[in-house]
Symmetry: C2
Subunit: 427 residues, 2 copies
């Protein structure tokens, strides 16, 4: 029986034209990170499952993780996210190195998901983290993310950064609503699900959970907050411990000072499912009406190193998936056309005796950093033209025993050149 | 209990200084491949186990593969090599595209090995393949590999390309020795193991296997061949079907014509364990007496697409592991020092009021493609100097309410500059 030619469900084959786009995206991620002095790192594909049990969300572990027992009886998993790995690595060295640590990676991750638009089982995720920096780090990570998206040509017309603060949410849930931990968790989920519900259903569920009309109204006022000014008014009206909100106010002030007022927006529905966030949380949303999804998400954490018995080291991180980013860039027509390779020359020889010279010319041009394809076998010009058309090659060099001709396919010119003239780059 | 901070056995954490080296190596691989008009591709991390059962060597499947059953009852494996994946991908499209196909990839692979020098469980492997090209492809792939190693500064003093031909080996084993398939396989293994044995043991085993003194002598003559000229003499003396050897002779001739005579050498011990090779096979060996190992290996195959019920498409491939390559480069002192990041500027502000301006300057410089680190918080010059020393930063910009100063740490100069002068790049 013939084998299946398709890739495993939820994974992709990257043929050259897709791979060039992936490389284009990854190169921008690396370049922009390095402009911000973030340094590259990577960790192993497999980690022991315990690492994820300690910090990742429940859904990730129970339903989405690819885990198995290895031949040495260890329970391991293919990494479903990068944060536990980076925490493990930082735990090894944070006592000895100058802080802050600014790191980025573009790992491949796997999650057992039902494949759908924007979600696959294998995907790459850009991760940038800063450790040991506090609020400066929050500003910088958001700035980095905005700069990255702008580097693709996207602007505030295409995306927005929705920001919230776990400390604010905790204050509202604790001080004003005061439910037991289980109901509080359900309330979190309700906030997260709000935009996918009709208002009546949301209203009913809020009342079922709070069991108190006044609390329900405060909660509804909270989830309706639309700007940092409205947060301030809400806090003045309802909250006692407003000093805990200064960090959020000051974050917005700094982001505005950096010219990001058109990008950042307060949004109470951003709570982030992962357990490790303890401060500011944010998501970057596509503004396209037909692609209204999160491209990236992140936030501040205080205790990532605790599970390694290391002293607390605060940090801020962002994760940006290459799948939603690609959908975003496509939705706004920001993806370049890389369907064909960029070659400098196609070299063909018209008689077998000229093969050596053609190969030598190819190799000499490569030494000059020219991308050169050698056309194999005695060439028939017509076939060569057909081939160069398919590959969108502009310059063809025909080598024969009597002469070397350089053809500019687009200009439809053909000039006799010496070996040396070609190496001198005369086009 | 605190969690383990070490990576899973046989895998590595790439901290920035190691990651920069990895990036340096991968970048060369991509650049040199593209100079030869090879196009990038990638496949999934997981494949169905059947794909490997069909083509990979037995040892790989039985002892080294990371396989498990997924949540949907599919038997999958983390890729232990890339060739089956590339064959699967080519099988999908080869009927429609212009040939030859020149492709390269740098996938991460996993094998359950006992970790040792030059071998790890997780590693990256450069793969370059050409499909639909015959002998031209063999020459090109070897040329590409030599060019790649030369791009790191290595020469024929550091490495050699050992070449053999499966067709020649089959002729010797079939025509001259004529054993049953099981003994033939053992003979192959014996060739492979020759250099690890004392001559007496080898001699005894040859006689035990062939059970014929004349055959044993011919076999010993075969394994002692040291050059293509010796092959010719041996063939004339012993073989009938010498026309099958023309391809090997002509390959050497072409490689010599391309100036590779100091790099390539005939070696009868190169047979390659993998089942799919059918023609020329080769390995690239480190010449360093203390690191005498293969850096890369490859060969020609005729039938990779057969398992997908596709018509035959011949090809040539090479695999080059990043672990042996790194050992090779280190053994010959060819690895650059990338222990510190390359930053253009460190910007520090001496009073909180100047933070906005410092951030603005940082962002403007980044727009000019400058790598800029912002020093967080009101800076004490002495602390900034300590920090810049650790990171090997040459230029520090101090921003204060009264002035902007640019310090060249190496030249020990400090000059007052305007915001605009700095943006104009005056150093």
């Amino acid at each position: 029986m013939a084998l299946n030619k398709s890739p495993y469900r939820g994974t992709r084959d990257f043929f050259p034209k897709e791979m060039r786009l992936r490389n284009f995206i990854f190169k921008k991620m690396a370049e922009v990170s390095e402009l911000f002095a973030y340094e590259p790192y990577d960790g192993p594909l497999l980690e022991e499952v315990d690492l994820y049990l300690a910090k990742s969300g429940e859904e990730l572990i129970n339903e989405q993780i690819y885990s198995f027992i290895d031949r040495g009886e260890r329970k391991v998993a293919i990494r479903p996210e990068m944060t536990p790995t980076v925490a493990r690595m930082v735990a090894q060295i944070h006592r000895e190195v100058a802080k802050p640590l600014r790191w980025y990676a573009i790992p491949n991750l796997m999650r057992y998901e039902k494949p759908q638009k924007g979600r696959l089982r294998e995907f790459w995720q850009f991760n940038a983290d800063i450790f040991g920096a506090g609020q400066h780090g929050e500003v910088e990570i958001i700035q980095l993310a905005v700069t990255l998206l702008r580097s693709f040509g996207a602007t505030h017309e295409h995306f927005e950064v929705l920001v919230n603060d776990r400390r604010f949410v905790d204050l509202v849930f604790g001080e004003l609503i005061g439910l037991d931990p289980v109901s509080t968790k359900k309330l979190y989920k309700l906030v997260d699900a709000k935009n996918k519900m009709v208002p009546e259903k949301f209203s009913t569920e809020v009342r079922a959970l709070t069991n108190d009309e006044n609390k329900a109204k405060v909660f509804e006022a909270f989830v309706s907050l639309k700007s940092i000014d409205e947060v301030k008014a809400f806090a003045t009206a309802h909250l006692k411990e407003t000093e805990k909100l200064q960090a959020l106010y000051s974050l917005f002030e700094k982001l505005y000072q950096q010219g990001l007022s058109e990008y950042v927006k307060f949004d109470p529905s951003i709570v982030r499912g992962l357990d490790y966030y303890t401060g500011v949380v944010f998501e970057i949303f596509d503004k396209h009406p037909e692609n209204r999804r999160a491209i990236a998400g992140g936030g501040a954490f205080a205790n990532l190193l605790q599970i390694f018995n290391e002293p607390a080291l605060e940090g801020v991180g962002i994760g940006l998936g290459e799948v939603p980013l690609t959908d975003f860039l496509n939705a706004h027509n920001l993806m370049p056309d890389l369907s064909r390779p960029a070659l400098d020359y196609l070299i063909a020889y018209l008689d077998t005796a000229s093969e050596i010279q053609a190969m030598e010319l190819a190799q000499k041009l490569r030494e000059q950093n020219k991308k050169v394809e050698l056309y194999f076998g005695e060439a028939k010009p017509k076939k060569v033209f057909n081939y160069s058309d398919k590959k969108d090659i502009t310059f063809i060099i025909f080598v024969s025993e009597t002469e070397i001709k350089q053809r500019d396919v687009k200009a439809r010119t053909e000039i006799t050149r010496t070996f040396e003239e070609i190496l001198e780059g005369t086009k």
